[in-house]
């Protein structure tokens, strides 16, 4: 068989393989979410979880323990769904930024977004700006977008070089972190400081159904739009000029993808606080499994990010008796060693 004839079937074969991987990852995600709903202070059998889910979807009318059913409906299911969306969104943003900025260390927070969100949240919590009319989440959201605008302005528009944006992001983050620290150290009470710390490290505790709707409404369309740009992201492999020479309208693509990334991150951070490491580590792990082509990397990052965050949420709730750790602590504790391992195993041949 000539190499040319052999080319298409091989591609088709690989596509089949990747479809299989996606189905497998979806199954793992569903199982992880079911576990996350079952495990907790009050243990609920897995069977009950699935029955309650089926009831909630109106597919059946099993009679279940009322307490179990309401715990599932009111608390755990929404929390798990937001955890999944959050992991998915942050990992997706990481994959996109790493491609656009051509920097393996790029992640959502490199754009100064989490620092801005923290400042926004602290201004609401401690200084009482907005007089209660502006909620914590909205404050964080506005802070995040504000910081992103500052970073873009510092880097003089979205068409400047990748390194400039990263440097501007670092500068912006330092600035907003300093503002946050200033407000906390001059105005906050000990009680407030504890609350803020918990939020800064990521907290899924206060999540309810409206958050689920918002998270899904941001992550799913965002993912679809990003997927449309998968091929354009591939074209950035050799840099912006190379992408432009391949016919990609570089300025427009960057602007759209930056906007989506900023919106997704700002929404996530405003809901659950700053959760580190997911946006950085997950795309690298995904690349390890499915390679660098974005049409596969983006779905893989999305799914692995969701699974990782749901599992991290379980760990954060069961590792200490009668209390839960901030989820950001868990993601970093797990993420850092995993990242080190990936770096070690994926090192290029010398």
């Amino acid at each position: 068989m000539s190499p040319m004839q052999d080319h298409l079937p091989r591609i088709r074969h690989r596509q089949g393989l990747h479809l299989g991987l996606i189905v497998l990852a979806l199954a793992v995600l569903v199982l992880a979410m079911a576990l996350a709903v079952s495990i907790g202070e009050i243990h609920i059998p897995l069977a009950t979880t699935f029955k309650a889910l089926s009831n909630a979807l109106g597919m059946s009318e099993y009679s279940l323990d009322r307490i179990h059913e309401s715990i599932i409906r009111e608390y755990r299911l929404s929390r798990t769904l937001v955890a999944a969306c959050c992991g998915a969104g942050l990992a997706l943003c990481g994959a996109i930024l790493q491609a656009l900025l051509r920097n393996p260390l790029a992640e959502p927070y490199v754009l100064g977004i989490s620092a801005g969100a923290s400042t926004g949240a602290v201004c609401i919590m401690v200084l009482g700006i907005g007089g209660g009319a502006v909620g914590l989440s909205l404050g964080a959201f506005l802070g995040a977008l504000g910081a992103f605008a500052v970073v873009l302005a510092l880097s003089r528009g979205a068409s400047s070089s990748p390194n400039r944006i990263i440097l501007a992001g670092v500068a912006g983050s330092q600035l907003f972190n300093a503002l946050t620290a200033w407000v906390i150290s001059t105005s906050a009470s000990a009680e407030q400081v504890r609350g803020i710390m918990f939020w800064l490290l990521g907290n899924l505790g206060g999540v309810r159904w409206p958050d689920v709707t918002l998270a899904l409404a941001v992550v799913l369309p965002g993912f679809v739009i990003c997927l449309l740009f998968a091929r354009a992201l591939d074209a950035f492999t050799f840099g912006q000029d190379a992408a432009a020479a391949l016919g990609i309208p570089v300025g427009a693509v960057r602007l759209i993808l930056f906007a989506i990334t900023a919106l997704m991150t700002a929404t996530m951070v405003s809901m659950v606080g700053a959760i580190g490491f997911v946006g950085l580590v997950i795309p690298h792990a995904a690349r390890f499994i499915v390679g660098t082509a974005h049409v596969r990397l983006l779905p893989a990052s999305l799914l692995i990010g969701a699974i990782f965050m749901v599992l991290a949420d379980i760990v954060s709730r069961v590792i200490l008796p009668h209390q839960s750790l901030p989820i950001g602590v868990v993601t970093a504790l797990v993420g850092a060693p995993v990242f080190a391992m990936i770096l070690y195993r994926a090192r290029p041949p010398l």
Binding site: A235, F238, D241, A245, G247, A293
Partner: protein, 267 residues
């Protein structure tokens, strides 16, 4: 005429880099852009393919102004091989060459037979067919340049622009790359440093000095001792080589500059 520049200028950060350049590229020819460092060769190439926007003048493709074409339309007729472009991503030869099909694929279209055919032909043209699955990071500089050329050929361009394609390569690989470019039926415009290689492999030469065209035409008309002294400040003797029949530039040492021949053996 394929690509034409009409009085093209470009300045950045208040400095004029390309100054009122006009040139016309004849289809099928291999054109060499020569000039000292900073004379505007790379910038001119980027203006010709629309990666930088001219501050003055017009670039046309078959009489259509470049500014009126979309990025994709430009990429379908013209490909660029950048100077030693590399990546950290773990890609294979095939991945890189397949990038060349980007301008021909719509957002949702799958991989088609014609894409495969273009990729296969491009791999064959640069002699990398059997190494398609090799990782980018295991390739030598010369091989990477060949893969870049294959990627550019997969775009099925009418014109190929190359920015110092032989940079950082040893002489064997320089000759190999230039012979490869020379064999292509595509119109080629390439920035080069080596005057002798330019004389061997190019039909036409354009000599730039401080952003302006100092001379343009056949190697015989462009490469004269006097002009090379004006542009580079170097004394030369130029003669037709009895070995390969092309012009050959001998560089003469300036007074006080020692060479192998002038070194007195240390006894």
């Amino acid at each position: 005429m394929s690509i034409q520049a009409h009085g093209v200028s470009w300045s950045t950060a208040g400095r004029l880099i390309v100054d009122n350049v006009s040139l016309a590229i004849t289809p099928g020819e291999t054109v060499g852009l020569l000039g000292p460092n900073g004379s505007g060769k790379s910038s001119l190439l980027r203006l010709l393919c629309g990666l930088r926007r001219v501050t003055d003048g017009v670039v046309t493709f078959d009489d259509a102004p470049l500014a009126q074409l979309s990025r994709r339309e430009v990429a379908r007729r013209l490909a660029l091989v950048e100077q030693s472009a590399t990546t950290d991503a773990d890609v294979t030869v095939l991945d890189v060459v397949r990038l060349g099909r980007t301008p021909w694929r719509s957002m949702l279209a799958g991989w088609r037979e014609e894409d495969s055919a273009a990729v296969e032909q491009a791999l064959a043209q640069v002699g990398m067919t059997t190494r398609r699955h090799q990782s980018w990071h295991t390739l030598s500089g010369g091989e990477r340049q060949r893969v870049h050329i294959a990627r550019a050929l997969a775009q099925r361009p009418q014109e190929l622009l190359l920015d110092e394609p032989t940079n950082h390569l040893d002489i064997q690989h320089q000759l190999e790359i230039l012979a490869l470019v020379r064999r292509l039926s595509t119109t080629c415009v390439m920035a080069l440093h080596d005057l002798n290689l330019a004389a061997m492999f190019c039909d036409q030469l354009v000599l730039l000095k401080q952003g302006r065209v100092a001379a343009a035409g056949t190697p015989e008309s462009v490469l004269t001792s006097q002009r090379i002294f004006e542009v580079y400040g170097v004394d030369t003797v130029i003669e037709r080589s009895p070995h390969h029949g092309c012009l050959h530039v001998h560089y003469l040492p300036r007074q006080g500059m020692s060479t192998q021949a002038s070194l007195t053996p240390y006894v």
